[in-house]
């Protein structure tokens, strides 16, 4: 299968700390690839470099064969990757529907359109409502975003990722802060996406990761120590040693 994302020799340091230490990783088209690792392993830093908020010190990132290492974040999004945030990142002052509609609108060639009222453009609103319905937030469409619960905010993050229709979704701990029931819902939801999108999933919830992932990479101190299917990761001594804890 073709690789949608290829990371080669990626390096990023903050002061003396190597947050990303020679990371090599290939993500295949339509797989769900999970990245696990202890706190401070550099998972979020890795996502930030992939989505373009942070620039690596060295190394290359290829998206569908194209070197995007120097491409700015907004342009990467337009090439077909979307990200969600570990700490909810939404426009709190706008309604739920407005947030999703912005993600829909982002697919237009440009938004230098000044005349028509955006909230009256049926195509934008209807499509946004569809994605809200998909994550089960249809009845919350007109609520101010700030009024929603944490769990609902997580679902909004997913709806934005869906609305982008990006083939590559970078999901940074979508289960963070969710209760067991909400987590189970999220897992079921991501399962439904498998095979339709490529998902690079960062997650702390091991049950979720082993239930979802086609392949898992283990990141420790900025370095990938193992990549493989869930069974081989579970059986890997280095991983057990470094991450899952010694019994």
């Amino acid at each position: 299968m073709a690789n949608i994302l290829e990371i080669d020799g990626l390096m990023k340091s903050f002061g003396g700390i190597k947050a990303t230490d020679n990371v090599n990783l290939a993500v295949e088209e339509n797989e769900l690839h999970a990245i696990i690792g202890p706190n401070g392993a550099g998972k979020t830093t890795l996502i930030a470099q992939l989505s373009g908020q942070q620039m690596p010190d060295a190394g290359t990132i290829r998206f569908r064969g194209r070197d995007i290492t120097q491409v700015p974040a907004h342009a990467r999004a337009r090439l077909g990757m979307t990200r969600s945030y570990q700490i909810t990142s939404l426009v709190m002052g706008m309604s739920v529907l407005d947030n999703i509609a912005l993600a829909v609108q982002a697919k237009d060639a440009h938004s230098f359109r000044f005349i028509r009222s955006a909230r009256k453009i049926a195509s934008l609103r209807d499509e946004a409502r569809r994605y809200l319905a998909e994550v089960g937030l249809a009845d919350r469409a007109d609520a101010p975003t700030v009024n929603l619960s944490h769990g609902e905010h997580r679902l909004m993050e997913i709806a934005i990722a869906l609305a982008s229709e990006a083939p590559l979704m970078l999901l940074d701990e979508p289960m963070a802060g969710l209760g067991p029931e909400e987590s189970a819902q999220m897992v079921a939801f991501l399962k439904g996406l498998k095979g339709k999108r490529t998902i690079l999933l960062i997650e702390h919830d091991m049950d979720a990761v082993f239930a979802l992932a086609d392949r898992i990479s283990v990141l420790v101190y900025g370095h990938i120590i193992a990549t493989g299917d869930p069974a081989s990761i579970r059986g890997n001594d280095d991983v057990r040693h470094a991450y899952l804890g010694e019994e």
Binding site: H74, R78, M94, L102, Q105, S111, F112, R116
Partner: protein, 344 residues
């Protein structure tokens, strides 16, 4: 929500209705002074409305808005000066349409160039750099002797426009009023458009807008240019109203006043900036009248203390400042916030 909306709609109708009718009444009562006052508040309202686009809806705290107004004013003063006294033939003209075109184009260009630099910065740096650019223009005009340097430039002739005569107070007033209505409608249209949604989204969460695929910088720059051009237009009107321009119109204190109008009236509301400019003008005037009226009560004590006559009304800035501080501290959302009933 609906009630809040209808309340602000009622407020809009009342205020615009008053502004449409009152000056004609003042004129009929031979009270030209108040027509002038209304003209001033309407022109300042246009400038504040333009600032609201970037400050209110864009979240960009620009502290240099007076520069655009000043540029617009000099775009009238300089051509008129040369048309009367010769020199600089390319711009010498008393044609109002030319003045307005010049005001809009030059202030838009200034916004494009300075905005391209300012918008690379964030937060306090943005505030400082917008102010620095405005001060740069201020000092530039202070240094040009041809245009009166810091003494300013008297505009001996108003802009000549078809159909109306701007030296007639009511003509000038209704041109300014029509411009204000147009400015309000324009800003309203822009903020509700797809462009406006991106601008407002970037106010709330710029990083998210970037990862959605928006080049936030470009959208902000375009908003900055539109805002600057509108302010430049208001400056051209202001020059015709004042009949005089000086670098003081571009001082940072003047930029601060525009910010106050927007904040006082209510940021990111259609009517806020006009309410702000109205209150500002009314307070400026009203406080002097009130203090003049109170003078006999305070004067004996003052004379006893300092041994000289008191001109109480010259101290009107003090209560003015106190009212502004009070308003910012205790009236959340400005006057529009009050009208909407304390909701944010």
């Amino acid at each position: 929500m609906t009630q809040g909306l209808s309340r602000s709609t009622v407020a809009t109708v009342i205020l615009l209705g008053l502004l449409a009718v009152l000056p004609a009444v003042f004129m009929a009562m031979d009270n030209e002074y108040y027509v002038g006052l209304a003209t001033r508040l309407v022109i300042l309202g246009i400038a504040a409305t333009s600032l609201n686009l970037i400050l209110g809806y864009g979240g960009l705290i620009s502290f240099g808005h007076a520069a655009f107004v000043g540029i617009g004013a000099y775009a009238v003063g300089i051509p008129v000066h040369h048309s009367l006294f010769g020199g600089f033939q390319i711009v010498a003209s008393n044609n109002g349409l030319f003045h307005v075109a010049l005001a809009v184009v030059i202030s838009a260009l200034f916004a494009l160039i300075t905005g391209a630099i300012c918008l690379r910065t964030k937060g306090v740096y943005f505030i400082m750099i917008t102010m620095a650019f405005a001060q740069m223009v201020y000092y530039l005009f202070i240094s040009i002797d041809t245009y009166g340097a810091d003494d300013g430039l008297v505009i001996y002739q108003v802009s000549q426009v078809p159909l109306i005569d701007l030296s007639e107070p009511l003509h000038l007033y209704y041109l300014a009023f029509a411009s204000l209505v147009a400015a309000i409608l324009l800003v309203r249209m822009i903020v509700n458009s797809r462009f406006g949604m991106v601008l407002q989204g970037a106010k709330g969460n710029p990083e998210r807008m970037v990862t959605m695929g928006y080049n936030v910088y470009r959208y902000r720059l375009v908003a900055y240019v539109i805002s600057g051009a509108m302010a430049g237009y208001s400056g051209a009107l202001l020059a015709n109203y004042e009949g005089f321009i000086s670098p003081d119109m571009m001082d940072w204190a003047q930029s601060g006043e525009f910010m106050f109008m927007v904040i006082l009236g209510g940021v990111a509301t259609t009517l806020g900036p006009i309410l702000g400019s109205t209150l500002f003008t009314v307070l400026e005037e009203g406080l002097q009248i009130v203090m003049d009226w109170m003078e006999p009560a305070v004067e004996p004590a003052y004379v006893a203390l300092f041994g000289r006559d008191l001109e109480f009304e010259v101290y009107w800035h003090l209560p003015f400042g106190l009212i502004l501080i009070f308003a910012v501290l205790f009236v959340r959302g400005g006057i529009m916030g009050l009208i909407r009933g304390g909701k944010d």
